[in-house]
Amino acid sequence: MRAFSYHRPDSVDAALRGVAGQSGTTTEAAVKFVAGGTNLLDLMKADVMRPERLVDISRLGLDRIEETADGGLRLGALARNADTAHDERVQARYPMLSKAILAGASAQLRNMATNGGNLLQRTRCYYFYDTGTPCNKREPGTGCGALTGVNRIHAILGASDRCIAVHPSDMCVALAALEAVVRVSGPRGERTIPFADFHRLPGDTPHIDSNLAADELITAIDLPAEGFADHSTYLKVRDRASYAFALVSVAAALEMDGQTVRTARLALGGVAHKPWRDPAAEAELAGRPASLESFRKAARVLLRDARGQSHNAFKIGLAERAIVRALAEAAGVEHP
């Protein structure tokens, strides 16, 4: 790999000084934070990411899981994915999140990977990883190899003619459904980013994954009080039973009023450049009976603009079935 310098501060302020002065977003930055390193180090070895300097944030603390004043839970940015998924409060109050985390990667990776890092992991598009091929995300302006190539695992929603990559995280799909809030620190002080605004669609700038600024650090992820513990699930469909990225995944969460859906949250993974939510589909469910028919209807609303590529059109029908299955499971509706 390319030579880089390494720095390991022991306070948030010192860490922020390490990235001070950088402009743009964190994806483009030359100085990067490293925590678990489960994605960044691989990408550096593959010469896909070429940071000049790594700021190791593993000694900053930020690894606690704490109650918030409004009855929610604050997940430290440096708490491990495994510790988060197995935390009793997370399991009891946000079972959908626990399930999503455990559906991702492997036990070994979850032991290393941190919550903040999970948000910043990069796409698993083949072309992004293979420096012998064109990729607008890796090298803007070189083209998108996947558009004309092998695109079985690629996006059906929100893609652009520059990039059809998908976000690989499972955890983020559940966080999107829960409407988590990302807390960040930077030279301008602290700010919060609603989860829906954290990741970006590719548009004309597919080389930028998120709206996190280059001089900011994720310190925590806040979960609102409502965890949909009674009526939620995470369903992941993939090519093997473990250790594979989602072809389609669904985080489904409902508030029920008897057999009627009061409110619904629906987020999809494996289908877009960010966890996909659609207010129209959720509105479609609200006030309707919890039935396969209304779930199917909502799924069709969500997928109304879905577009397949040469190898991934199957994802559209699969997503519909997965949404129906997940909603049925969340609602406790018998599938005939």
Binding site: V150, R321, R325
Partner: protein
Amino acid sequence: MIAKPTIPDPLDRPGSQIGKPVSRVDGRLKVTGGAKYAAEFNTPGLAHGYIVSSAIARGRILAVDTAKALALPGVLQVFTHENRPSLPWFDRKWKDDDAPKGSPFRPLYDATIHHALQPIALVVAESFELARYAARLIHVTYEADDHQTDLREASAHAFTPGKDKGGFQPPPKPRGDADRALAEAEVSVDLQFTQAVEHHNPMEMHASTVVYHNDGTLTVHDKTQGPLNTQTYVCNVFDLSKDSVRVISPFVGGAFGSGLRPQHQLFMAALAAITLKRSVRVELTRPQMFSFGHRPETLQRVALGARKDGTLTAVIHEAVQETSQNENYVEVVVNWSGQQYTCDNVRLDYKLARMDTHTPLDQRAPGAATGIPALEIAIDALAAKLGMDPLELRLKNYTEVDPNTGKPFSSKELRTCFRQGAERFGWHKRSHAPRSMREGRQLVGWGMATGVWDAMQGQAVASARLGIDGTLTVGSATADIGPGTYTAMTQIAADILGLPIDQVSFQLGDSNLPMAPLQGGSWTVSSVGSAVKAVCDRLRDKLAGLAAGLNDGPLKGLRADDLVFADGFLIAKADPSWRMSITEVMRANDLLVLEDEARSIPYYKSQMQHALGTHSAIFAEVRVDEDLGTVQVTRVVSAVAAGRIINPKTARSQVMGAVVWGIGMALEEESMTDQSLGRFMNHDFGEYHIPVNADVHDIDVIFVEEQDDIVNPLGAKGVGEIGIVGVPAAIANAIYHATGKRLCDLPITLDRILEA
């Protein structure tokens, strides 16, 4: 010495080591890290190489700018076609023991690009990390030509190959008139199949460490299935004498055929070591493991005709397989379809199509693993159409002779496999109709298939050295790519000389040892094991002679046949109290060591008169999610007839591993080509899917009794390949039974199920 066919004795006596589930003699070394693999041999001053791979699939290199790489302190050299030393011109210098007809690929030979990811430069530096970094600073400009990597298009120019590779038999001539019989058949099926490219992907990446000695000689640690193959290649390509190249490769972390041919990292490491006069290691990355041989993509058609009672009246099996532009890689894909069932009208056709890829390469059960699933899926489809139980249909057309040749099988306990496998699986409880075994949203299906592989034997030589303390060292230049060769050979030697396992050691993976053929094709126990038996038989005879010659001894005048060898003693059969220890016999003869060497030669005459093969019956249960198309293989029973099983523990592991691969072949494994780039794209373990633990449920392995005194003196046929053959068909047939969908394109990924 030619070993004689004498099976029952001494192998069947009580207390025999053969047939015992002995734990791996090298197990402790492996789990403690004591076992050294090719990339783990360290030596002072070792330099590290990193390979630069081509970005295009076909064309030529116009320029390679190495200036930036060479400017880095610690970079020793960048080798390209422009600065390589003189290399041989004749193809024969580049051939190896597994080379098919044609012109082998020559790394760094000239500016021509033959296939994507072709190695085009080697950076050598003081550290691996530096070499890798420097490799990224090399700028290559190309002139690209159009490439062909689409087999359907290429098959328009398919041709019929000859006997283009050792072990390959072209299909037999047609018998009867299969096309007419098919047209007139009361019931028929006609199906098209595709088999995706698979890469071997052993856990250990291909690597070579070439240690350069001051006198110019080399010690080569290579990932290989044959140390002598590696030695010959290095000597021929670099014009060295055999005395100056020694190959030592005691451990190989899986190969599955990928080590049958010297791969380019060997060339690179040797080139750099010889040129720089330094020890050099070159190890491939996982993506680079997709830059050489692979199981070829294959298009097939199988058409079957039958009478209403299930009697087969027509078998047609056609296959087109990819090969490279430079070599004719061939494997036996269709011949099996003329051998498995009795049928008077059979037409088999096998063709190759040239593509701009690296030459394909033998991969576990090459040919059979591809061809048999097509046949066995078609048989299942025919059974469904006939309304017959698929097992009954197979029994109805069972054959005791090989219909391709008319020769009887040396042994064929396939009926026993069917019976025992079906019983263990509970096959009789299967409901016939598809979609009849639902559990909620899960569709349950049961399927079965037959497997077959050759039982081959090659010549091999083994040496043995018996010390006066009763320790025995046996050796032969074979490999142990994981099946448990160390253990099996140790058992055979210990058995014949009646020694405890821990007094016997077996050496392999060293070119200084006596000749052994490549480890492949399930023939190592048959070939090398027979040599081990032969040399131990000779030591046994010698010891008996020495004991018989002792006038004061208790065994005076007795012959080897009059003795039993057990616990380090020679014991008279007539009276077990007449006994001498090996130590006593040698001491009395003033001998400290007893050494010998023997060559085993197949029973050519009787083998020529028979068909030789291993057989299996595979039963599989799947659960298919009706909404999502996901498949779980919840149960597999594999009943195998492979002659004598030397070690049921390691043999079971081999078959289990092969069943796991069969699951991968059925459901997951595929190297996906970007046709516009001519390049495999999913070249890592994240996206090239092989089964994980969560995909693997109950696997039950049965070895049925099978006596065979023709295959070799041990009566053991080998189990390296048989375990995978037919497994994908059993699973595909179970998916049909679960869903009513007949899927003929492997792998059967969930999108294929949903869209069928």
